[in-house]
Amino acid sequence: MAYALQQLINGVALGMIYGLIAVGYTMVYGIIGMINFAHGDIFMVGAFVSLISFVLLSTGGWAAGPGAVLLVLLISMAITALYGWSVERIAYRPLRGSFRLAPLISAIGMSIVLQNFVQVSQGARAKPIEPVIRGSVELWHGNGFSVSVSTMQIVIVVVTLAVLAVFTWLVTSTKLGRAMRACEQDRKMAGLLGIDTDRTISITFVIGAALAAVAGTLYLLRYGLADFFMGFIVGVKAFTAAVLGGVGSLPGALLGGLLIGLIETLWSAYAGQDMFLLRELNPAYKDVAAFAILIATLIFLPSGLLGRAEVEKV
């Protein structure tokens, strides 16, 4: 039981990170109807910028403390947002309103570019960093087993919720948010009503990238590693989360992220254990589990958990 609780906590922390990335997918999909294939790699860039900033700060001698983490977070958000903006400007905007497959191929190309750019500029080896946030809080103790929440996990949950709260306020209560929602409903009409749709779309990418940067930073802090290929698999899982929650729905993205994080963690923790049918399962298949959920969701629940159902138009 204690073990289960511990895994649940781990799963929630991971799920929060997926949720942050999933929001980026959902926003872009909502506004221009395309899967931003490079979004996972934007997350990777975010992790790398944080990594570099941490190393930079620690060479300068002020690496420790919440101030440093906050500073790194802000730097990473700014630089990664610039990457998100550039990707949209270079690879997507010229293709707006064009043939549907073109932006997808262009996005895949951009994903390859980002991965290999980081590989060339930062090397192919995985980069470790020393733990910045240490310590943990013991929640429960007994029977030789304890349940604890690491400070890192608390930071993940708090930062994610804070960032998402700001973001939700942005989307629901500001002029910008109204413009975004208008573009989501009907881009052409929004344009006719005087909304600068190009600018709104750019800002959507910028915000999505900034959220991915937060996710990248948290991921780096939690797992202590960054490599140029990390964006692909995390990106696919985050997209799965977005689909599971219902594309277009922001709470759905977080919910989907949590579910994927939990399923993945619990699968790794329990598959292959000597209980019931679990011994038939292979912990190595945790990614298969995520993908299988993606396929099952799309087949049985095409609009996701919190998405709106679409009536086929005849």
Binding site: M34, I35, F48, V49, L51, I52, V55, L56, T59, I79, L82, Y83, I90, A91, R93, P94, L95, R96, G97, S98, R100, L101, A102, P103, L104, I105, S106, I108, G109, S111, I112, V113, Q119, S121, Q122, G123, R125, K127, I129, K188, G194, D196, T197, D198, R199, F232, V236, T240, V243, A284, Y285, V288, F291, A292, L294, I295, L298, I299, P302, V314
Partner: protein
């Protein structure tokens, strides 16, 4: 790369615009470079300079952390150390500035792009009728040319493998309009089918080849059934997931597939029972024909084998296009709802597209296994699917010639960069973006009618549908 100048004049069928173009672009974009269409009042050079300066500023922001500050694992193995490379940043920023400036000046000098007319479409189609036989002739003769090296032959085999894969995927994506990002799964199924059947049961390549196709076709149906209702990007992501599932299973089902170590010692194909053994012993190809044993024989044989397989793919595709089934695929791409109203069984039509496309992927996979004599999950990653799809889209959906050219350009170009190992994927990805921005419809976008009362006129790509599934 200005957004506005690229808006296509889409067909407004039934008075309902099909694409979301024509969005007015009011106002400056908060200091964001707007490209050459911005205010005419400012002299173009000044504007171009300003714009290039902004681009350089953005580039500075992008490159300072990732290029300027290189992290490396320290010598003691402990923490990371930093190395600065400001010169590289300066060069990159300079390139961006100069490139953007050149681009701005070029587009302000050049007259407004002329629209592609039907005549030009017809012209391209006519050129195609000359180019295709030329390509074919060259492909057939290449191994016989005196200056063809062993390396050239191997490259030819590689290009032809991708041509075949491209043509196979073209059935699914180009004709039926079903976006498949997991095509490599069928390639893998074919390769492992041959690898397992030959190493376990000792079956010959010629027995396994059709079996590989059949197994892959079944895998295609297996994928097809659940995803029938999905459309567009959802279909893409599910097929991607399917491809990854196959790969992860291959990686972890160690008892069957050997896991990450793969399967080695796969028998090479024989020429009607004659082997290509290097020793040239009795019963070998060299012995039978009284030739000096040479490894080139096998290479030439493999070359012609994949050429024949690729041409078979092409022949079947061209043939099917003129059949009801092929026409139904294209109709499905154009409008699925109309198909249903005409009594076409959409489910079966989609499944046949998946199955036949997958079958050719399976053939190619079996060929891959016999050529390499080794398969492992590493050869079947998502990037392979992406490359094959890129070949199809860059070539022009549905165009057999375009796909062949795209395979030649991409794979040949990729090989040309082999001396710059580090950079070639980077260039490859950039090329995908650039070609898409330059020609969103691919190299050959026009479509040739499958039947006509009079003359067959090429149909401009602007009218051809792209599929929703």
């Amino acid at each position: 790369m200005s957004g506005a100048s690229r808006l296509p004049e889409g067909p407004h069928v039934g008075g309902v615009p099909h694409n979301d173009d024509g969005v007015p672009e009011p106002g400056e974009m908060g200091g964001i470079p707007r490209g050459p269409e911005a205010p005419a009042s400012r002299p173009p050079v000044v504007h171009a300079l300003r714009d290039a300066g902004l681009a350089a500023l953005v580039a500075l922001g992008l490159f300072v952390p990732l290029v300027g500050l290189r992290t490396d694992v320290g010598p003691s193995g402990g923490g990371l150390i930093l190395r600065t490379r400001w010169a590289d940043v300066a060069i990159l920023v300079g390139i961006v500035f100069a490139g953007r400036l050149a681009m701005n000046l070029w587009s302000s000098l050049r007259p407004a792009g002329r629209p592609r007319t039907a005549r030009r479409t017809a012209q391209i189609a006519r050129i195609g009728t000359f180019v295709a036989p030329l390509f074919l002739g060259f492909a057939v003769l290449m191994p016989l040319l005196p200056w063809t090296t062993r390396y050239g032959l191997d490259l030819g085999v590689l290009v032809l493998t991708y041509v075949m894969l491209g043509w196979g995927l073209n059935i699914v994506v180009g004709l039926a309009g079903l976006l498949d990002l997991g095509y490599v799964a069928f390639y893998a199924v074919g390769a492992y089918t041959y690898a397992l059947l030959s190493t376990t049961y000792g079956l010959s390549f010629w027995v396994c080849l059709p079996l590989a196709g059949i197994f892959a076709a079944f895998a295609g149906m297996l994928l097809g059934f659940p995803v029938l209702r999905l459309r567009g990007d959802y279909l893409a992501i599910v097929t991607l997931a399917f491809g990854e599932i196959i790969r992860v299973v291959l990686l972890n089902w160690v008892s069957l597939t050997g896991g990450p170590n793969g399967i080695s010692g796969i028998p090479r194909p024989s020429f009607f029972g004659l082997s290509f053994s290097a020793g040239g012993g009795p019963g070998s190809f060299a012995d039978f024909f009284g030739l000096e044993p040479s490894p080139t024989h096998r290479a030439v044989f493999l070359y012609y084998l994949i050429l024949v397989l690729a041409l078979l793919t092409n022949w079947v595709t061209l043939r099917l296009r003129r059949q009801p089934l092929g026409r139904a695929w294209e109709a499905l791409r154009e409008d699925e709802i109309a198909c249903r109203a005409l009594g076409i069984n959409v489910t079966n039509t989609k499944l046949t597209a998946f199955a036949i496309g997958a079958m050719f992927g399976g053939f190619a996979g079996a060929f891959f296994a016999t050529r390499q004599a080794f398969v492992s999950p590493e050869s079947f990653t998502f990037i392979e699917s992406a490359i094959i799809l890129a070949i199809v889209v860059l070539g022009g959906l549905g165009s057999q010639l375009g796909v062949a050219i795209a395979a030649l350009v991409l794979i040949g170009g990729f090989e040309a960069f082999r001396d710059f190992e580090e950079y070639r994927m980077l260039v490859f990805g950039a090329a995908m973006v650039v070609i898409m921005v330059w020609r969103p419809r691919g190299l050959v976008s026009s479509r040739k009618p499958s039947v006509a009362l009079g003359e067959r006129k090429a149909i401009s790509g602007d009218l051809v549908g792209e599929g929703h599934g």
